[in-house]
Symmetry: C2
DNA sequence: GCTGGCACTCGTGCGCGCTGAGTGCCAGGC
DNA sequence: GCCTGGCACTCAGCGCGCACGAGTGCCAGC
């Protein structure tokens, strides 16, 4: 176990390095922080911290920089979440109010997060799996062609074309529409499959094939949409990443274009709190020199989706965590209201 | 007017520079192209081309690179559009087939374009202004709350919440829905305002306020959506931009995040053909060292939206133009089919 | 009007030595 | 036992000078 002072030294190193972006030496440390001991002592502490793997030297005769392990300790034990100031809070509210629809809410959230944290922001659209059905609409486009429109309680709309095996009368369509809505409106997606299971039985033999087709398209939509959409922004902030550009930035941009990677990234948040994944803790190797701060948000108490930011491991963790948490909370409120 | 051979020299310079990314000198030129004259002669030609502003020297004792004006001449007079090869064509078809909905089509198109051109791709969602109404749906969510869903012939779905001034019965709603659809289904957006103008007159006085509210929301949706959405991809390709990274890449990333800028960018295509805007021809100064190749695409003969790529001025124009054109054509086909 | 030759320019790469920040270690003091 | 001041050592970064060579402009001759 590290002594109190050594932890203090680590904290000072992290703070200075995050601020200056340059390796920090023992002398500079004692000058900028009231550690109450001399540089020589700090040097000894640093040697220990290095042995333990919390900090490293880029090369001999340079200062130390925190390792992933060092940041981890910093985040877990040494730093809290820095709450937003009142003006910041007001700015968040101001910025998010007045969004007209779901796309707009998500779009504004991305821009806001990117601006607040000066990093890359990622916001997942509210997930369908936990959503409920607000309405299902069926439209006849041609005798054997039906359009299925699904509307969720988070305001999301999905539509699918259905090619029917046989012509389907307007009356049958109205019948199916009514039966479907009475069964699943207000129910959770997860419950839908059971609820519609025996629906085809209520129809004439000639229509049964079509009903089955429509239903399976509906179920597909529910499943497919679990593979959720997201929006990213603030990629211009990547340019403030480090000195050794092309090599650092390229894999990050590539990773950010792959939805799957991003979803996994956010996916690893446990529902309750905030998650911070530092450097090599990220499975994707393009993101090995980045940290991800993410959190769930939702309209009720429950999280329906996640949002977060991606930045250099050398980031202001307390501030970033504060911003992410504040934004998530307010987005949740907005969704609950609408 | 420049002589035939001088144009040939310019073409050679552009081709070599695009290939090697390095200033090209007179000797190298004669070696790599069969110009039939000696380096000294080429030097004279180069001096003329430089006087005329088509090429420039980064510094004395370096080769020449094309200026924006030089690229412009190259694109207008010296280069055609390089058609896609049969395998490339097949790859395009293969990649775009099997898209399930509009989002998917647009998403695939962006990825495809980015991959083919190795540049940043921008695809605008099919515009509503030229679209026609496929169906309008009205759902009652609460006594005085209606959800309006608009479905277009390009498969786009927009929904809006409407708060009614007075409770609105299910019967009235059905009536409105029927009347609305019989009037505007299949009609162009532009014609809708006239077509619904006198609709409120057909209703009881107590419902008239609500009908008016619903209609104005509908018209708003049509107008608002003219400010269109778009999708971009392939930003990782920016890393192959040049040697002097941060300064070049940053403003580009920033510009790409501003929808307005991008829409303007694409907006300057004339409907018929392809547009190429080179370097300083782009109004936005962040894009002064990039070129934009864009073209309209649409489901019928008419263009309903635009797509294009953004890359360094030093790009393979014929190849890029070929790829952009081929993709636009096929996307048009896909939209027409669905 | 093209060509070969020639003098000139200047950016790039390399080797060199200096500087200074930062380290590790040690002996002495509280 | 822990902290401290002192000291020798290391090494990345910087500036300098130099040589190289790619590329040019100009000119006289064919």
């Amino acid at each position: 176990m590290l002594s109190e002072r050594r932890l203090e030294v680590l904290r000072a190193i992290v703070q200075d390095y995050v601020g200056t972006e340059e390796p920090v030496g023992s002398k500079a440390l004692t000058e900028r922080h009231r550690l109450g001991v001399s540089p020589a002592t700090v040097r000894n502490d640093m040697a220990v911290l290095e042995d333990e793997g919390y900090i490293a030297q880029p090369h001999t005769s340079a200062g130390r920089i925190p390792t992933d392990k060092g940041y981890r300790l910093f985040v877990d034990k040494l730093a809290g979440v820095k709450p937003m100031t009142a003006p910041e809070r007001r700015a968040i509210h101001h910025f998010l109010d007045g969004a007209v629809d779901l796309d707009d809410v998500v779009g504004r959230t991305v821009r806001l997060l990117a601006q607040l944290t000066r990093q890359v922001a990622v916001v997942q659209y509210p997930s369908l799996t936990r959503s409920t059905v607000r309405h299902v609409e069926l439209l006849s486009l041609a005798p054997a062609r039906v359009m299925l429109v699904l509307i969720t309680d988070t305001g999301r709309v999905e539509q699918r074309m259905v090619d029917c095996p046989a012509p389907f009368g307007e009356a049958s369509l109205a019948d199916l529409r009514a039966r479907l809505n009475s069964r699943i409106t207000g129910r959770r997606f997860a419950d839908v499959p059971q609820l519609v299971q025996d629906l085809p039985d209520a129809f004439e033999a000639e229509d049964r094939g079509t009903v089955t087709t429509v239903l399976s398209t509906l179920l597909e939509t529910l499943v497919e949409e679990t593979e959720e959409r997201l929006m990213i922004g603030g990629t211009a902030n990547l340019t403030r990443f480090g000195h050794d550009f092309p090599l650092t930035i390229r894999p990050v941009l590539e990773a950010l274009e792959e939805q799957v990677v991003l979803l996994k990234l956010l996916g690893e948040v446990n529902d309750s709190g905030m998650a911070v994944r530092i450097g090599h803790e990220n499975a994707h190797e393009g993101l090995n020199s980045t940290s991800v701060v993410s959190v769930g948000y939702g309209s009720g108490g429950e999280a329906v989706a996640k949002l977060g930011v991606v930045g250099p491991t050398r980031m202001d963790y307390p501030g970033t965590m504060g911003a992410v948490r504040a934004v998530a909370r307010y987005v949740g409120q907005i969704l609950a209201e609408s």
